[in-house]
Amino acid sequence: MRTTKRSKFAALVVGFALVAGACSDDSDSTTTTAATETTGGGTATYAAEQEYVSYNNGTADQNLFSSTLVLNMLLPGSFIVKPDLSFELWDEMMVSAAITVDDPQTVEYVVKPEAVWSDGDPIDCDDYYMSWLANSGKLEKPNPDFTAPGQLDADGNEIPETLPVFNTASTTGYDSIESVTCSDDGKTITTVYATPYPDWQGLFSGLLPAHIVENNAGVADIVAVDTEATSDDAEALGEFWSTGFIGFDPEITISGAQYNIDSFTPGQDLILKRNDAFYGTPGTLDQIVFLQVPDATQQPAALENGDVQVITPQPNADLVAQVEGMDGVSFDISAGTTWEHYDFNQANKHLAKLEVRKALALCIDRQEIVDTLVVPINPDAQVLNNRMYVPESPDYSDNSGDFATRDVDGAKALLESAGYTMGDDGVYVDADGERLSLRLGRRDPNPRRQSTNELFAEQCKEAGIELTDDPAEDMNAVRLPASDYDIILFAWVATPLQSSNTSIYAPGGDQNYNGIDIPELTGLFAQANAEFDPATRADLMNQIDTVLWDNMATLPLFQFQNMVAYSDTMSNVVFNDPAGVTWNANEWAVAV
């Protein structure tokens, strides 16, 4: 019996591969980076979980955070959002931006004369004008699907007669503006508001190049386009604005800030290179690479291996432990702007009673929930006691009052004062003999929310309240807007725009799914939404929050945690939840 030579060779190669793999283990040559001195230049690679899609993030269909991460270094804006959710004038481009007249609210923007797009066209009034034209949502065109009034679509919504000319994601703020006028060769922009909008600093950031839209739509001057009635020019502009910015085209996706897109390979990477035409302080790095690493659990290995230098995976206890054990890697974990809360649906017979809502807030041990679920990720995590501000914001104050700590006896006393009597099975029954049993709605699957509900149920069992987990896959998408729940666990995102809270808590608000009806709030919100003084406004918002605590409308729990981990060769990497970690990527530096 003989074997062929070839098969011997193959087997040997296999054997060698195994040995080679095994002995690589004992390599001890850890190279130490001696120079931590940072100089200009170099490349940093960021592990992006999702990829860049569109240059126009203001559209309803292309609005993605993964694009924001790229556009932070590309699109100029009047203000930037800092990690503490405050606005700061972007002084690379702006001379000033301030309210010049209180009534009617008039804001004047002055842009530096040297501010230009990377193709040489000045950044000026036409870019502001286009922002307003596109996002004010006033221009409409006929809907081809519309046949007769009252016709319903598959979801039972009425088919609208008209469609927006500019497919904008949000008209908030821009729809309050009455006029945008240009002066001083386009470098001074004056905006006048029909109704006051104190969050005006959030507008006119991420400006798009109007001349690109003009050229591609064949419109000579966008500032001449009527903002009240739809013209052919407006439709042409709207068409390009809504669909023309998808992907990367060096002629279209130009830069007005520190970096420029050099190349985009969908599914793989996007490369930013320093914008040579930038008029301010140039970016430190030569090149910033967005390498797509879609599986967040693989990002730490990529960081350790040096494939990427910055990662921002959603942290969990295992991930934190893994990154902690790595050499040459630093990380920061911080509380973010997304916060978890329980909402009480006042359409429910029990929850309509203030005493029941208060009893729930007293029997829950929010500290234990935080200790169990969040502290393993971030030892500094704390209970959230404000619906308007997160603790990172200077305006945060603890408004929880009596509800700061758990009080089971107090909860029982409240229930008894509301006519509940203890039943045989240890659960209270109301005057009609109905058991105090409530469902805790949450989206499924979500292990963290499941644990939260389990803890809540366990804690309030002692106070004679029966809570059952109510998981559903369509909880947030269908049952929440339909107010089809007793108590629901979900998250809101805190934004610097305080007026966005109106629709959630004001009587009759679009997102007031709980049926919160406190007449006092209508006035308070109206007052706050017309107040230009930040301190007075913060007082009003905290006053609203206190009213909501007294009324126990909703119960905030904790903030989600964010993580950024980076190679020790990197400096100036700072997480920024609203704007994304790349908000200051122009300051990132790498030790060479």
Binding site: C23, S29, A60, D61, N167, S170, Q292, A301, N305, D307
Partner: protein, 398 residues
Amino acid sequence: MIRFAIRRLLVALPLLFASSILTFILVTNIGVPKAIEDAMAKPNVQQAQIDSLNRQFGTDKPPVERYVTWVTDFVKGDWGTNQNSVEIRPLMWERIQVTLRLLIAASIFSVVLGALVGIIGAIRQYTAFDYTMTFLAFLFFSIPTAVLAGFLKEFGAIKLNPWLRDPSMSIPVLLVLLAFGTLCGFLLTRNRYRYERERPLSKVLLGAAAGLGVAVAVAAVFALVWGGNTYRVRNPKNLIPTVGQTTPGFEGDFSERMQDYFWHMLLPTVSLVLVGFAGYSRYMRASMLDVLSSDYVRTARAKGISEGRVTVRHAVRNALIPLVTVVALDFGVLLSGAIITETIYGWAGMGRFFSEALTAKDPRSLLAFVMVTAISVVLFNLIADIVYAQLDPRIRLG
């Protein structure tokens, strides 16, 4: 044969139609697209935005109308846009190319390695080699891809790269390698049956020489790769990456680009081959054992045909037939990509296309994906049947 092919393709049409309806029903029932869900979670969302998203996904129309519109457009070549408003057809074409680049090499290696290991395992049944390979096959077959990838990344990249930066081998390690090579060679040249006691010295020497040869060859390859290789100079930090298809923005001459492809393909390919070869080697071993114990092989031996000729011409050729069927079917589903491997190693192929579409719950992408893979499976089934008939004259198409 052409008539057979045409008939089979015609039968496939109603099959594809049925699968499109089934997929459509499933897709419409997985819930609203994620973009709509996310939009509703934002404070102050406007109904106009939700409406716009519904129009984009086509979910503003009743299901039957949606299906009819989709089918007519799809047949005409208009596959619509995906969750990010990107045209599906060109996107999918890109993804198919990536998947093929990764999977064709991996599949070929798996099949060749699997067949070789299976054949040797059958010829040298119950030897140390056979036992080792059986053990490894079951080990790799049962290990989850993510775990395997974790090991490969840790020991094949993170721990190996610092060493590769300045490769040197101490004498003891070299000796161990040499001893292992000799052992492998020795075991392979062992006699098949225990009663064949005599073991000529030449065989032992042959094994040792083979081991030495491989060690020298590996050293030579290393010397070649590291001796003034421009690619390595450009990528001094981590020669073996754990993610990605290419170095972002890498520009180099042909050989440098090929090396860039090679190093990026290395870990995912090894990962796929280890799992793939395990299955094929078991098929091949079983089928080879079957053939080796058949009457015609005994007859061939009795006629005095040399053992090598019996093995190659009479046994292996026939033993390959079942493997061909399996391989053809596997190539049919190749287009659906390797979902886990692509995700773990950050490759944007068809597997990623599917998992992204499913996460986004985008109806059009999911439908397009299922149709493309279904067509590919039908075609490769047909090819399997035709190849089968060519290999085995007893089978007739008609």
